[in-house]
């Protein structure tokens, strides 16, 4: 990253805000043990206690420290989302590029295949897989990525088709440059903002999906997550626990998603002011 870009980024309030949100999360995650956070699996506290110096956000119905659960949940959510988001993006870029470059039958087949994938609600497939094969969270993340690359692929393909027709690429082709060379030297870098922004939206999609899945209880019950916390807190919606139990995971989720959105918006401005935040479909 050039110093110029970095300077632009750091002077952008959106980026600063997004980065600050991430920094807070990171601080909480890293500093957790240092802050004296309890073991999130310890069930020995008095159930449904109010927040106190001992338990900053109180204790849940199972006698577990809510703050510790929250930190553990954020960590798990982030790991899952990064894995699913990155893999999905990688698949999407590779396949999208391939379709745009090769075209013809390959393009048709891959695009129809992606239509089929789009037609299958990923939640349903994940429920099946989780219920039947009892796979771990990372594997579910990879399956999610395998289900969700088509949205990126379609957008990358569309943009690549545009670039492919542009004058300098045409010129490069006339000069006899190989397809691989053109993709590597021209298309990939030029599309950088597209998939950079695409990554942010994939990440966001993965965060939401992880929340939904854990809300539905599809993960190992011992694995803490924000969605699971919301699910449990929701069970007691009639008690006065919404502000210290229900709200924190909702706020953390909002912060996580906001932080990714902010950073992607700011990157879009800095990298390519021409290309407005191409927030892709299926982001939620």
């Amino acid at each position: 990253m050039s110093p110029d870009v970095w300077k632009k980024l750091t002077s952008d309030p959106l980026f600063i805000l997004g980065a600050a949100l991430f920094a807070i999360m990171a601080f909480l995650l890293v500093g957790g043990s240092w802050l004296g956070v309890h073991d999130p699996h310890d069930m020995s506290f008095a159930p449904l206690s109010s927040p106190s110096l001992q338990h900053w956000l109180g204790v849940n119905d199972g006698g577990m420290d809510i703050f510790a659960e929250l930190l553990s949940g954020i960590k798990n959510t982030l790991v899952f989302s990064l894995l699913a988001g990155l893999t999905s993006l990688l698949l999407g870029v590779v396949i999208g590029m391939l379709c745009a470059w090769v075209g013809g039958l390959t393009d048709q087949l891959l695009m129809r295949f992606s239509d089929i994938l789009l037609a299958i609600p990923s939640i349903m497939l994940l429920i099946l897989v989780a219920a039947f094969f009892r796979v771990s969270a990372p594997v579910l993340g990879l399956i999610l990525a395998a289900m969700t690359w088509p949205t990126t692929a379609k957008i990358v393909r569309a943009q690549a088709l545009v670039i492919r027709k542009s004058l300098h690429i045409q010129a490069a082709r006339h000069m006899g440059a190989s397809g691989f060379y053109i993709i590597r030297r021209h298309m990939l870098p030029e599309l950088f903002p597209v998939y950079l922004v695409g990554f942010a939206s994939k990440l966001r999609m993965a965060i939401s999906m992880e929340t939904t899945l854990s809300f539905l209880g599809l993960f190992d019950p011992a694995r803490k997550s924000l969605g699971m916390m919301i699910n449990y807190a929701l069970k007691y919606y009639y008690l006065d626990i919404w502000w210290n139990w229900f709200l924190p995971p909702v706020l953390c989720l909002t912060m996580l998603i906001m932080a990714t959105t902010l950073i992607s918006l700011s990157m879009e401005r800095v990298f390519d002011p021409r290309l407005g935040g191409f927030v892709e479909a299926g982001s939620r």
Partner: protein, 523 residues
């Protein structure tokens, strides 16, 4: 425990329902809504389905807070010599199409259910049925059948012969006539998409015109919200809600302890096939802690003998496994397990590892899983047994339990206050082989023999004695470990003038739902 501010502020906002002023309408909310069309061949095989059907179809006898009461039959007698039950029918009883109800209908119903089984009842012990006159019927038993009154008498809906005698395939018969019964309410509508039911009072009901003119069931994701906004008049609630509802003028009623949570053990495989091992697990489980963590204290430790503490045949001397870690460890060590330095048990180099199945969520994500399995895992690891917790979707877990593909599983069921036949169903394979909740345990011949005996013992005192012994044996053998009875509560709006109650032993076969039709009949 503090109560949500929403509650304190939300006083009765009466969302008036647009019915004529003199018409009384009762609305009952539940979170699932759809329980099948309300006739014996269409309702779901679950309590709420049966209850919806019970408004339309009357049985020979019925139950209220104190026990059996007359329904279609005003009097009933048993002649042990001839093994005959005689029922005298209420001469005023008639069908919703105004045809009189006679003994011939009862005879027909028994024959029809023999041909097209209705699994809520067992027609096997019945030899024949004879109509003595239009209003008396004799039912001859093939063998003595101790559960006759609960089963045939109190659970079997009587079908109108003039409608069903030509119906060859009852499961695909859904014409309007399929919903003609003799109960206090006539069927008007069942909306599958909305999960709603509409019943209208049957003015000529033989026990008098029902109090409410319209009875409506509807689906509500949060029944409590519907209740406190006065959109619902009755719904079942969680124990934590009771206080605030009472403060807001609702009446909260509590059921007997007829539903339990239990720990199923795969006693067909090692190490769970050893009685000592099962007992060690029972000793290591602190049920008070489970109740505290999983139910916020709203539960009672269960009898190890399965039958509820509130059951008339409950044996107070049933063996108890008080939480005792050192005794549990001693038992494990007699089985050859040794505790390693990490605190976990091993035998012959193999670590002692078990899987714990919890089926606490459904695909709809409705309701958060309870903490039972998590607490049990913690307690067993405390004992020195490694536990892998497996959460599976309900139906998936059920089929695993059914096929014996599990080690330990948390499950639960009701019916523990109803007829003692529940013991047979929950213990012996010959009764419960097709059930997920049944322990299907046949290792102790005495136990199985007693189970058979109690079914044939028509004398209540003699039967009680047998049932006492069954509970002792069951508690000793521990084919499954009873954990606790969660509180079961309902709340209703008293301004409608209806006093709802929980039925002694549960509606019909032991359904723990406070929607007894007698609430709307009696003054």
């Amino acid at each position: 425990m503090r109560v949500s501010i929403f509650f304190l502020i939300s006083t009765a906002i009466n969302i008036s329902t647009p019915v004529a002023a003199q018409e009384l309408e009762i609305r009952i909310a539940d979170s699932k809504g759809d329980w099948g069309a309300p006739n014996p061949f269409h309702h779901y095989p679950r309590g709420p389905g049966y209850v919806r059907m019970s408004w339309i179809f009357d049985t020979l006898i019925w139950k209220d807070q104190s026990g059996y009461i007359p329904a279609l039959a005003t009097k009933w007698l048993y002649d042990p010599e001839r093994m005959v039950f005689c029922f005298h029918l209420n001469p005023r009883a008639k069908w919703h199409d105004n045809t009189p109800l006679t003994a011939a209908d009862v005879v027909f119903t028994l024959a029809y259910f023999k041909k097209h089984p209705y699994h809520w009842i067992s027609t096997a012990p019945i030899k024949t049925a004879k109509a003595l006159n239009p209003h008396s019927v004799e039912i001859h038993l093939a063998t003595p059948y101790a559960s006759f009154l609960s089963d045939i008498g109190g659970s079997m809906p009587i079908l109108p012969r003039h409608i069903w005698e030509n119906v060859k395939e009852p499961h695909s018969f859904s014409a309007p006539e399929a919903f003609i019964g003799s109960g206090p309410y006539r069927f008007v509508d069942f909306n599958k998409a909305q999960g709603s039911y509409l019943f209208k009072a049957f003015a000529d009901y033989y026990q008098g015109r029902p109090k409410a003119d319209r009875l409506i069931y509807f689906r509500s994701g949060r029944p409590l919200v519907s209740l406190s906004t006065r959109q619902a008049d009755l719904c079942s609630i969680d124990a934590d809600m009771a206080q605030s509802l009472e403060n807001n003028g609702f009446v909260v009623i509590r059921n007997e302890r007829g539903v339990n949570r239990k720990l199923m053990l795969n006693h067909r495989k090692a190490p769970f096939n050893q009685k000592n091992f099962r007992q060690a697990l029972a000793l290591a489980i602190d049920r008070q802690e489970i109740i505290a963590k999983s139910q916020r204290g709203f539960g009672t430790p269960a009898s190890y003998g399965l039958l509820s503490i509130d059951h008339p045949m409950y044996n107070p001397d049933t063996p108890v496994y008080h939480f005792n870690l050192s005794e549990a460890r001693r038992l494990l060590e007699t089985l050859g397990y040794q505790r390693a330095t990490d605190g976990f048990y091993h035998r012959e180099g193999q670590p002692l590892e078990v899987q714990l199945l919890s089926s606490s969520f459904s695909a709809t994500g409705q309701g958060a899983p309870d903490r039972d399995a998590q607490v049990i895992k913690k307690q067993l690891e405390n004992l020195g047994v490694r536990v892998e917790l497996i959460a599976l979707e309900q139906a998936t877990a059920d089929s695993k339990i059914q096929n014996w593909e599990f080690d330990l599983a948390v499950s639960g069921h009701g019916g523990l206050c109803g007829d003692a036949k529940i013991l047979n169903e929950m213990i012996a394979s010959s009764y419960g082989a097709g059930s997920v909740n049944s322990a299907r345990y046949d290792e102790n011949p005495e136990l199985n023999q007693l189970l058979e005996m109690q079914m044939r013992e028509m004398d209540k005192n003699a039967r009680t004695k047998i049932v006492y012994r069954i509970q002792e044996l069951y508690a000793e053998e521990l084919p499954a470990i009873s954990l606790y009875y969660p509180f079961s509560l309902s709340a209703y709006n008293p301004h409608k003038g209806i006093d709802w109650f929980y039925t002694k032993g549960g509606i019909g076969k032991g359904i723990p739902i406070a929607q007894n039709k007698m609430s709307l009949i009696r003054p």
